[in-house]
């Protein structure tokens, strides 16, 4: 057996955090290899489905309007996490988010102008031109230019945290592009000549940026029981959490609850994996949501939709069979973003119930009681309006309008899991901490795998990419220092 290939920094993962770490380390002079579990076409983890990054700034820029202070950002984060977060890491994250635009631009990332199509988030969030896959393409192209070795289909079989080495499955393939820079010492991409790749890689430092475990159905089942069978995974099927499990088994200190995750309500007809953004449904505040028994179970109009968007995954997950149905009438038809699946349409509520596979009597009864409870008001989706119900459990507190204008539309909903929060506890240099409270030597983590340090329950739009970018860069800096 030949000696393991050696690099200064080995990065496990191929999404935003991994590439930010790799580029930073390479820029600081380290030799770097990126181990991407997915094939080239699906590279980039869940980052390929993202669109924006939350970013503090003091004054308007070409890509951000107004200003967003560090304190306001921190307050927003605290509010959604019920005041639970690691304050020093959160403050560090927010402070360093200010330098993101410039750093990202340097590597070819382009942004939308703040004037149009930014979902009312143009003050707080940077939008990537073309979305997350375009961003990942820019980073991978920069990695190639700078001489970072990238291995695709690189499934990590085991990790030795003492040696900073990883064993890969034999499927790993080196970057194969016409513009690949000349081979340097280190990895020789040789599979074109039929030479079997050496499956062991050793680094002087190791960075774990391999995401969570949301595509590992067995692990989800450990956390959620049989309910997990009905979850739809919105992102990559490659986030199996193998590196996370390996680190936890090696004595890394876990942070966060295994049930904590970002999950929204998606169309039940969505593919099991990788449906991304187009399967989400934005019609919930405009109508009513029923469970399989034909009953309402939550306040559809509790708050402005962007603030409640990420709570409906867990709400649906708690219903029988993890399914729910959103019903709207013709008044709502043009008020929400079109979804990729057509609505199920009927001219009467009982007909719609039958088409959805629900009891016509129960649904009819629920709708009648809801319609009777609606108080008159001035409908306005832009504000917390005064259209509400009185006398129901649960009430609908805003945007409550009678369902009385045919045709009626129904959409089936399932919990759509975006990502998990259970991860590795880190310190401010992104060193992975042991259960005994001491740091592991030369082992770092960034991105979703350590997002639980900052996110405990809630989510604010775009913070996942902030965590990947800021902490990825810090991990890259720290790992390079450790490798010297």
């Amino acid at each position: 057996m030949t000696a393991a290939r050696e690099y200064d920094v080995v990065v496990v993962g191929g999404g935003n955090a991994a590439l930010c770490a790799a580029l930073t380390a390479r820029e600081a002079g380290a030799s770097v290899v990126v181990l991407e579990r997915a094939p080239r076409e699906f590279r980039g983890g869940n980052s390929r489905h993202t669109r924006n990054l939350r970013c503090a700034h003091d004054a308007p820029t070409a890509v951000l309007t107004g200003s967003y202070s560090e304190d306001e950002f921190y307050a927003d984060l605290l509010r959604v996490n019920a005041n639970e977060t690691d304050e020093s890491l959160a403050r560090l994250l927010i402070c360093r988010s200010k330098t993101c635009t410039e750093w990202m631009s340097k590597y070819g990332v382009r942004f939308q102008s703040a004037l149009r199509g930014t979902l009312h988030l143009s003050r707080t969030n940077l939008f990537f031109l073309g979305g997350g896959k375009a961003l990942m393409n820019a980073y991978y192209a920069a990695a190639e230019r700078m001489g970072i070795d990238v291995l695709y289909d690189a499934e990590v079989v085991s990790i030795d945290v003492r040696e900073c080495s990883v064993r890969l499955s034999a499927s790993a393939k080196a970057t194969a592009g016409p513009r690949r820079s000349a081979s340097r010492e280190g990895w020789q991409p040789d599979n074109s000549r039929g030479v079997r790749l050496q499956p062991d890689l050793r680094g002087k430092a190791l960075i774990l940026a391999s995401g969570g475990f949301e595509s590992n159905l067995a692990w989800l089942k450990e956390a959620w029981g049989d309910a997990a069978d009905n979850f739809i995974v919105r992102g990559t099927p490659y986030n199996t959490g193998a590196p996370l499990r390996a680190l936890l088994d090696a004595g890394a200190q876990p942070i966060g609850d295994s049930r904590a995750c970002h999950a929204i309500a998606v169309d039940a007809r969505a593919p099991k994996f990788d449906g991304g953004i187009v399967t989400r449904l934005d019609c919930i505040p405009l109508g009513i949501v029923l469970n399989q028994l034909g009953e309402r179970f939550a306040d559809e109009g509790e708050d402005l939709w962007p603030k409640r968007y990420a709570s409906w995954g867990t709400l649906v997950a708690r219903q029988p069979e993890q399914i729910a149905y959103c019903l709207v009438d013709a008044k709502a038809a043009n008020l929400f973003m079109p979804s990729v699946f057509p609505p199920i349409v009927a001219n009467t509520i009982p007909e719609l119930a039958v088409q959805l596979g629900l009891s016509a009597d129960r649904v009819g009864d629920t709708v009648t009681r809801f319609n009777d409870a609606v108080r008159p008001g001035a409908f306005n989706l832009e504000v917390l309006d005064d259209c509400h119900t009185r006398g129901l459990t649960p009430e609908k507190s805003h945007w409550a309008q009678r369902l009385d204008a045919p045709p009626y539309w129904g959409y089936p909903l399932r919990p759509g899991i975006t990502f998990t929060y259970l991860g590795l506890r880190v310190d401010e240099t992104m060193r992975v901490m042991r259960t005994d409270g001491a740091p592991m030597q030369n082992v770092y983590a960034a991105g979703e795998i350590m997002s639980g340090n900052v996110l405990r329950r809630g989510y604010i739009a775009g913070i996942g990419m902030t965590i990947g970018t800021v902490f990825g860069r810090i991990a890259g800096e720290s790992a390079t220092r450790a490798a010297r």
């Binding site: 997350g132 953004i277 043009n334």
Partner: protein, 360 residues
């Protein structure tokens, strides 16, 4: 792909795009799409003719093949675009006839016209060295033939564009997007600037892509060479016609005369542009383009190229014994170019301008 399938696939692609919208700042296709909820044939023709095939949205797409949704906007819209040229061509039968084996059709037409002109020429043997074109093909024949073909081409293309505008507009009235139309009217200068500078070929601030993360300005510059070269050649002919008919100054004109200068600069531009574009499209990522487009592009570029080459050759050798042969071949090629204009790649500029005009 059969027509019904193409429309259905186009609607699928646009439905996925409309639920995603990540590409909305790349170009005008996506904002125009956002005003629709369903996508019929005319809607798709409209969106397809807004697309400049810059390619950015394919590489940015999280649903691009091999994803199961299989979204490839540049290629799908290219297919729909070619179909729309056929659908709106007048007379339709000619449109269909010309979309088969275009390169061969173009060359064959040029050869046929040249042969007819050669057979009907007054003489093919050089009389003297005066370079008198009308000694070969009479003034009246030239004016009648070219005037007629030119008027026919203009009429055929006008019918096509009017039908396209009517179809797209009519459809607009049936859907809700008609309501929001017209809010940004009154920006005609911007529209003309966009058309004349090909702004949407580099709409996102940099140039269009030839492969993932490969951006270069050449496609735009070569198109400028071709388009403005064509305009200069057209201007050269127009000036010559004015010289002849208004002032009675008979060709040939001197090397320092306006028609020759315009024609030489324009011809050089056309030659550089058409050869360059031909070369460029061979090197582009095949995933971005549609095979049915190849014939259209190639026959148009070939005829442009031949017209220019024979024209420049005629200029250089007009005092030589070969002049009558060069003249009939040049005139035959120009005739073929103009006869095929309404059914070939040339119309892309007209439909694109019409679509931008609707979208403004």
């Amino acid at each position: 792909m059969p027509l019904a399938d193409l429309t259905q696939h186009g609607a699928h692609v646009m439905t996925v795009c409309n639920a995603c919208r990540y590409c909305e700042q790349y170009c005008p296709v996506f904002p125009a799409m956002e005003e629709l909820r369903t996508f019929g044939k005319a809607d798709l023709a409209y969106l397809a003719n807004l697309c400049h095939n810059c390619g950015e949205c394919l590489y940015a797409c999280q649903y691009a093949p091999p994803h199961e949704f299989g979204i490839n906007v540049p290629k799908t819209l290219a297919q729909i675009r070619v179909q729309s040229y056929q659908d709106y061509a007048w007379p339709r039968a000619l449109g269909v006839a010309f979309t088969q084996r275009n390169l061969l059709t173009g060359i064959a037409l040029a050869a046929t016209f040249s042969a007819i002109l050669a057979l009907t020429a007054r003489t093919l043997s050089p009389i003297d060295h005066t370079a008198d074109f009308y000694a070969v093909v009479s003034h009246n024949v030239m004016v009648g033939l070219f005037g007629g073909v030119f008027l026919f081409a203009v009429a055929a293309m006008s019918v096509g564009v009017i039908r396209f505008l009517h179809d797209v507009r009519q459809n607009a009235q049936h859907s809700d997007w008609g309501l929001t139309r017209g809010q940004t009217r009154g920006q005609t200068p911007v529209l003309f600037r966009d058309i004349l500078t090909l702004r949407h070929l580099h709409a996102s601030g940099v140039d269009c892509v030839s492969a993932e993360e490969h951006r270069a300005p050449w496609r735009r510059w070569l198109h400028h060479c071709t388009f403005y070269g064509f305009l200069l050649c057209f201007a050269s002919t127009t000036v010559a016609a004015i010289y002849d008919n208004v002032f009675g100054w008979r060709a040939p004109y001197g090397y320092a005369s306006l028609p020759v200068i315009l024609g030489t600069i324009g011809g050089t531009g056309l030659l550089v542009g058409s050869l360059g574009l031909w070369n460029l499209r061979r090197r582009r990522d095949r995933a971005l383009t549609d095979e049915t487009h190849d014939g259209l592009d190639e026959s148009f570029l070939a005829l442009l190229c031949l017209t220019t080459l024979t024209g420049l050759a005629l200029l250089v050798f007009r005092h030589e014994p070969v002049m009558p042969w060069l003249l009939v071949v040049h005139l035959g090629t120009v005739l073929a170019l103009f006869v095929t204009l309404p059914y070939g790649k040339f119309v892309h500029g007209l439909y694109r301008a019409a679509a931008l005009w609707i979208a403004r």
